[in-house]
């Protein structure tokens, strides 16, 4: 569905995208113009332009300290999310698949607790004189400690990563990585893969890899830290997405008997009413990627190396049956 359209339809789509871009740009542009204006009030355009505000800002020690603190919290939360979530993902995936249900609840939890609640309560729980503080070293756990802020920032990041998870985006880079790993395991016969290999080239989804998320609004606001670490955590947890939506997208490739490529064959069907033939309901049924027969087995090796174009085209059609097909 990602072909570029031409003609009037293409013009419509381009207009919509430009309007979207303008909507998103407007506040940023406004802020920027305001930041280089000498004075701007009660008029459509500012009275003059200057860069003195930037000079003033960069020579203000208080700003520099705040900037450093923001960066610290941002990078801290980023590292935390990578260090904590990445091992979790792989361990649960390989060793404890039964924990999937528990993981679903854990993933939903930060999402059910609004950030204002968790941050306000974090202050109360970890400020000195509260019930958790005597249990741990006072110096380590103080509400003003950057470590604590990193921790709470990590969970506001977890919330956003949850968003990525719940977005039913099965095609994420992270899931691509995990598929590749499984391919590796299977190919080197280190161990039998628990599930089959999804016969699908990982299609990098830009949405899950914000390229400049953290650098966008350099540390003037606390929001920045969420931004940066969300990018990381979003990427990391995204690979659990398949598990999250498992009630929607069954994993038909996990049947133990079939070979990996025959698992690719799954039926997609739909039912529509054809207006040209009143009163009839036509069932569309496509056996997608039937080209992969059972002969494409592991004996020939997994076709990882640079698939040719028609092959790729067929592989693309083998995406799992999308949820909710009528």
């Amino acid at each position: 569905m990602s072909r570029a359209e031409r003609g009037p339809v293409g013009l419509y789509h381009r207009t919509v995208v430009y309007i979207l871009f303008l909507i998103l740009l407007a506040p940023l542009l406004g802020t920027f113009v305001y930041s280089i204006a000498t004075s701007w009030s009660a008029s459509i355009l500012p009275s003059g332009f200057t860069y003195k505000w930037y000079v003033a800002l960069w020579s203000d020690p208080r700003f520099l300290i705040a900037f450093g603190q923001s960066l610290l919290v941002c990078v801290g939360a980023l590292i935390l999310s990578v260090v904590l979530i990445l091992p979790l993902l792989f361990v649960v995936h390989y060793h404890f698949p039964k924990l999937d249900a528990l993981m679903n609840i854990l993933i939903l939890l930060p999402f059910a607790v609004p950030p204002v609640v968790s941050s306000v309560v974090t202050i109360r729980v970890f400020s000195s004189g509260n019930f958790l503080s005597p249990a741990v070293t006072k110096r380590a756990m103080n509400a003003s400690n950057p470590g604590v802020w990193c921790g709470s920032a990590f969970f506001s990041a977890a919330r956003i990563s949850t968003s990525a998870v719940a977005s039913t985006s099965t095609h994420t880079v992270a899931s691509g990585i995990s598929d590749r790993l499984r391919l590796m395991f299977a190919a080197t016969a280190l161990r039998t893969p628990r599930t089959g290999v999804r016969p699908e080239m990982p299609s990098p989804v830009r949405a899950s890899v914000p390229p400049a998320a953290g650098t966008a609004c350099p540390g003037v606001s606390a929001g920045c830290c969420t931004a940066g670490c969300a990018a990381g955590a979003g990427l990391m947890t995204a690979s659990t997405s398949r598990r999250m939506i498992s009630p929607l997208a069954p994993e038909p490739w996990s049947s133990p008997k079939s070979t990996p490529w025959s698992r690719a064959i799954r039926r997609t069907s739909g039912e529509i009413t054809a207006p040209n033939f009143p009163g009839t309901r036509v069932r569309i049924s496509t056996r997608s990627s039937a080209a992969f027969s059972a002969s494409d087995s592991w004996a020939e090796g997994p076709p990882t190396a640079a698939p040719t174009e028609p092959f790729r085209a067929r592989v693309r059609r083998a995406t799992p049956c999308p949820p909710g097909v009528p």
Binding site: V16, I44, V125, G151, S163, A212, A230, P323
Partner: protein
């Protein structure tokens, strides 16, 4: 076998740091709120909840919270659907640029966003002046409910685009071709194939946008300095405020907010399951 078992133990060890963090920053605060919400001057009980629901002031906060969240999520998701669908249909250079830009702006919220809107849309803001001179609007108050809905919608749009863009992967071009070969019009295609296929993604995105809006605090606080009555403002005012300090009542309000979110999440999960079984 023994090496596999050792691998399991090592794996379990890897889970410990995450578990500790999860308990310290997620479970402990939640437990703290839950316990404190049940305690009031009169002792243990549900007094705080009774008080919160009996007070017109807090009921108004709940109502405003829900209204703003609902409308901003709805407008946001509609714009995001149109935008992300069109995004897939434009040349890849434009697509890459705009989707990267949407990613960036999805983090543009809170204080800077409120500031940007103050520049553009207050009584003397640039955009307000332009619209006034064009004769489109007479007056506009950013500090009202409508203003807040517009502000919230702004940070909902990029998040919605971010979440919906991959969802359109589920729709395949050959379905549309098959449908039109069988005589289905564009509307028939969307009515019978497109929308049913996308429903889970749309629902999920809507719930996330709703949660995003319900919990938003910094944006509305920076804009109205706490003068607008929504739940997050009330909670923060009673926990960290300097006039009325009542952490127990705040905990009860927080639990109500958590309850709303849980309810929405459960409904969402239920709808997901249902749509799956129907599809079988």
């Amino acid at each position: 076998m023994s090496s596999q078992r050792r691998g399991k133990w090592l794996g379990l060890l890897c889970l410990v740091p995450f578990a500790l963090f999860f308990i310290a920053f997620q479970i402990a605060p939640l437990a703290w709120v839950a316990i404190n919400s049940l305690y009031s001057d009169a002792g243990w009980g549900i007094d705080n909840f009774v008080k919160a629901f009996n007070s017109r002031f807090y009921r108004q906060a709940m109502q405003f919270s829900l209204e703003i969240s609902f409308w901003s999520s709805l407008i946001g998701i509609v714009i995001a659907i149109l935008g992300s669908y069109s995004l897939r249909k434009v040349p890849s250079r434009l697509r890459d640029f705009v989707s990267a830009f949407a990613n960036m702006t999805s983090n543009f919220s809170g204080v800077p966003l409120a500031f940007a809107f103050i520049i553009l849309l207050v009584f003397n803001g640039a955009l307000t002046l332009i619209l006034k001179q064009a004769g489109i609007i007479d007056d506009f108050n950013l500090y009202s409910k409508t203003g807040l809905i517009i502000l919230y919608t702004y940070f909902q749009i990029p998040l919605g685009v971010l979440l919906l863009y991959p969802a359109f992967d589920a729709l395949r071009e050959d379905w549309r071709e098959s449908a039109s070969l069988l005589g289905a019009s564009g509307w028939d295609f969307w009515r019978h194939i497109g929308i049913p296929v996308l429903t889970p993604a749309l629902l999920g995105t809507f719930v996330i946008l709703l949660a995003n809006a319900l919990g938003a605090y910094a944006t509305v606080y920076a804009l109205t300095t706490g003068n607008f009555n929504v739940l997050p403002i009330r909670i923060a005012a009673m926990v960290a405020g300097d006039i009325s300090l009542d952490p127990n009542l705040a905990s009860a309000l927080a639990m109500i907010l958590v309850g709303m979110m849980t309810l929405v999440t459960i409904v969402h999960q239920w709808l997901l399951k249902r749509s799956y079984h129907v599809s079988r």
